[in-house]
Symmetry: C2
Subunit: 595 residues, 2 copies
């Protein structure tokens, strides 16, 4: 089937004299999760992983993906004629290098200019041109042109995100955006990220997996706010809610409005890191541009009081589901029949019982023993294994609620515990606690704090190969920027009061087990350390769920760390015990005992 | 006098119909210290600070400098007609904003294209053009054109940096540079940084303050190595040393060779962050360019065995000078007559007695009490104050030796000690020791380690407003890249075995005192923590000089930290005591006692 599709694509390429076509994962909105209608790369290649770019020439094809997907990609590409390029490996040629070897100098390489951000495309274009190739932007996406039963734009109605949870009116948000525009003299701001649009207009949707967003563009000017989305999916309630503040326009009309904006030749603010090349280049022909991060990204990251209240509230409910699940797990595993997949389903079932639950915030990582060491493990029917009363089980999961988004990881023992497991678990826990105990001056960035969870592991010659934490949205993306507690990004973003991050150090022993302890935390002012002319911040936490003390080696920990853990467990008991009963309550009592 | 100079400059501007001329601090080689002939900004403005850019319009002038220089600049600019713009303050307009207010749309702004790096110029050009102004590059520097008695190129002979200390032949270095060129397909590499040229050709000079470099350009191709420097200053010894490996060409000929290189239309590797705009734009017209960090910068940063041996050896000598100085200080201050300036001179005198001493590696910071809180304090005759037997004295100094470069800071009490001083000093010391005790996985960057010296201060609501450390050259610049233990830079540069950094946390109490403890450290493999498939690194240190234990509050420190300090002092005693005698030896014995 895939071969037929590639054949059709090659015919379309030939008609335009294009020698290679590049099909990245990404859509026009640079979403983490791509809606079905734009899942062009899976459609053309058969590879369904979350990351991977394809290039097709007249007789070859390549897929570039990272280490998480080598096995899956090799299986799914079999018979497609597409070769796997292992992008995480140092000596793997990139797309430009591959194409320069396959094509003649001057040959045309086609791309859909909506499928790359402006910044990405600038860099790819440079690479291809340095390789002597010519980049052509196709009017229509060539995969779309041969995809007969391609789905249309989603029709699921958009919903109002109530002010009770949003905490700020659309009018106020627009006013703040316009104030930022005035500072750099821009007369219009184009917003393309779906979570930024959902935040700005206090609306939510269901167009992609896990993120409550809907496909739309927006153009904000000094006096107007235009929201472009499929008209048939906008209910009267939303029209009434937005009133005269926002003009709702059909999604395909965006192109005309973009061209009108270009013709007006005013200064336009775009965010080249997230806005697609087609939009930016259309404007750049005629308008002076400000290319910098959209103000919405920072506004959205700093939660207001209502959002923080919802953040706390949804974590009490989410904690109840986690406690019920961990209690169930302890009984069910020895009884037999529990697998990684059935455990994940059970946890989802507990979450589905909860108020305001809207779905998972990402695909649950339910991983036992050896699978725990695969950081981004996603259980499939083929990989699924039964749990038995021994070793470490790791579950990383989260929910979307009307009042907030959760993301929690716990590693628990299902039976016997080795001294090494205890040592590793305790060091991860100490790192987790150290970040909670840290006070830091205003202006400190996430990367500067990443080391704090790591030094305890470094002391023992250990490390983990991911960041300590990521930003989290308020009933929006479970991963959001601009802040990041990570050694590789967020360098220029100071943490600010109201930002939410995950705190999730880990340790992964290849071929044996994985440990990760994750709570969501929010930045608060450290009242004790702040003075008249200087500000110190620290973290509060929202996640409520016991940490498995059977895996704790108390002798490694400092008094301060032990106190933190005991206080945490007391708080978990106080907050969650009113909502559980019987065996679950007994289990919770036991699990939150002092060490 | 300055007014006359500005008048002449304005006449020169008028002849070319230029409405504003920008005169930055920087010269064609982007040096930290500018040789006298290119000190155009001090000449035209009267302001002699190390950082500051000037813009002159037909009736106004502005100087942009940072917080270190506000007082000095205000004094030196008085009567010049040049206004001070406080660049460290948030709302101060930049040069482009200032000029857009003063000039008409379309007006010409002149710059000398050699006085900006390519990357800087790109950004300034964009700002000026967005402000509606036109940038013109003057053939000759307009300040030079009106500076009658401008000094010529320096004539001080260049010297060979012996292989014993350099540790690698010029041939081997050229081979490694060419291997890197082959990797990205470049056929020529232009080197413009003076320390990179000195390193590549194993030569040293005396053209600027504190850095043993000489004014030169270099062009490396697959088969040739051209060194452009004033011919009259190249002694026969150097000619014999370089032999047929390197072609020595007169400095002014560089322009012709650059144009020939451009005409050859081969791919050229330039480093846009450090190479001036004139060079890059001359090449860019005709050649494909690779714009990335010069390979020399990384090669130079990773010291070989001979360089590390010299690094250790020169620190023994430097430590002897420091010990003699601190012993002298303790006796001289109560006797009276010692000032910040005379103390600095005394330390320099002790260094001058040492083998292979070539000069200071930077201007000594000798600061008493309140002056200690001014991080970049540089004592002048006006600011000089006497030292008395009370409070904290801080001295930050270093030497250039044929076998290495030193940089050391000690804060010592001159008499009574308060509990607060002890608390602050001890926390700085704990941060310093924590960095020494850290093991970190291969791949860790400097910024990730910066936090380690800081958390101890953060715990007490304190912080310091500079990086933990900078790279240091081998008988080259006391500040060098690419690595930096700093929260604001070096994000993509992993620390590697053989790199030298300073470890210099501090604490500054405004209006009272400053504390900083600085040793130079070098990255080594942590044999205990490294395994077959993973590498851990840690730090060794070279600096040998007692840390004032009278300022240590032992109860704050961990056993590990106390052990480190006691071992350090034992090592200082063992390494330095053979080279001192009498009262100095007794003082050293006392100063290195266990706590």
């Amino acid at each position: 089937m895939v071969q037929d599709r590639i054949k059709k694509l090659r015919m379309a390429m030939q008609q335009q004299n294009i020698m290679a076509y590049i099909i990245p994962s990404i859509d026009a909105h640079q979403s983490e999760y791509v809606p079905e209608l734009w899942q062009r790369r899976p459609w053309i290649s058969g590879f369904t992983g979350s990351a991977g770019d394809v290039a097709i020439t007249k007789d070859k094809g390549g897929l570039w993906t990272d280490g998480r997907y080598y096995v899956q990609a090799a299986q799914q590409l079999a018979g497609s004629g597409i070769d796997l390029f292992k992008a995480s490996e140092k000596d793997t040629p990139g797309i430009a290098t591959f194409l320069s070897g396959e094509l003649e100098a001057g040959d045309k390489v086609g791309v859909d200019p909506t499928t790359f951000s402006f910044d990405q495309m600038q860099s790819l274009k440079k690479d291809l041109e340095q390789a002597g190739l010519q980049v052509v932007f196709t009017e229509e996406n060539l995969v779309d042109s041969v995809w007969d039963d391609q789905p249309g734009l989603p029709d699921v109605p958009v919903k109002v995100h109530t002010l009770k949870f949003a905490g700020e009116t659309v009018e106020s948000k627009l006013e703040r955006i316009r104030a930022e525009m005035a500072k750099n003299g821009s007369k219009a701001h184009v917003i393309t990220m779906l979570d930024a649009i959902a935040w700005t207009f206090n609306l939510r949707g269901k167009d992609v997996d896990y993120n409550p967003v809907f496909i739309a563009y927006a153009i904000i000017t000094e006096n107007t706010a235009k929201l472009f989305t499929k008209l048939s999916r906008v209910p009267d309630e939303v029209r009434r809610f937005l009133g005269s503040t926002v003009e709702i326009i059909d999604y395909p009309e965006f192109e005309n409005h973009l061209k009108q904006l270009a013709d007006s030749r005013v200064k336009v603010w775009i965010d080249g890191a997230t806005t697609n090349y087609w939009i930016v280049s259309t404007l750049a022909e005629k308008c002076p541009l400000v290319n910098s991060m959209s103000p919405v990204i920072k506004f959205k990251a700093i939660k207001n009081e209502a959002e923080l209240e919802g953040f706390k509230a949804c974590h009490v409910r989410d904690g109840v589901a986690m406690v019920k699940f961990l209690h169930w797990l302890e009984g069910a595993v020895p009884a037999g029949g529990v697998t990684e997949m059935s455990a994940a389903d059970k946890l989802e079932a507990f979450r589905r019982e909860l108020d305001m639950f809207q779905g998972l915030s990402f695909s649950t990582i339910s991983s036992y023993k050896i699978h725990g060491a695969i950081i981004h493990y996603s259980v499939t029917e083929e990989s699924d294994i039964p749990l038995s009363p021994t070793g470490v089980y790791l579950i990383d999961s989260g929910g979307q609620y009307l009042d907030g988004t959760t993301d929690i990881t716990r590693a628990v023992t299902l039976g016997d515990v080795t001294a090494e497991e205890k040592d590793h678990f305790t060091r991860v826990l100490m790192g987790h606690i150290n970040l909670n105990l840290t006070s830091f001056p205003k202006g400190t960035t996430g990367p500067a704090l990443d080391t704090i969870t790591r030094v305890v592991l470094w002391d023992a010659g250990l490390n983990f190969n991911h960041g300590t934490g990521h930003g989290v949205g308020a009933y929006l993306g479970v991963h959001e920027g601009p802040q990041s507690i990570n050694p590789t990004r967020g360098f220029t973003v100071p943490l600010e009061i109201g930002m939410i991050c995950s705190n999730e150090p880990g340790y992964y022993k290849d071929g044996e087990y994985g440990i990760r302890i994750e709570n969501l935390v929010n930045v608060i002012r450290d009242k004790q350390k702040s003075g008249n002319d200087f500000e110190f911040y620290t973290f509060d936490y929202a996640t409520l769920c016991p940490i498995d003390t059977r895996l704790v080696e108390k002798s490694l920990m400092s008094e301060k760390q032990i106190d933190w853990l005991n206080n945490y467990h007391q708080n978990v008991w106080e907050k969650l015990s009113p909502f559980v009963e019987g065996g679950v309550k007994e289990w919770l009592k036991q699990a939150t005992q002092k060490i």
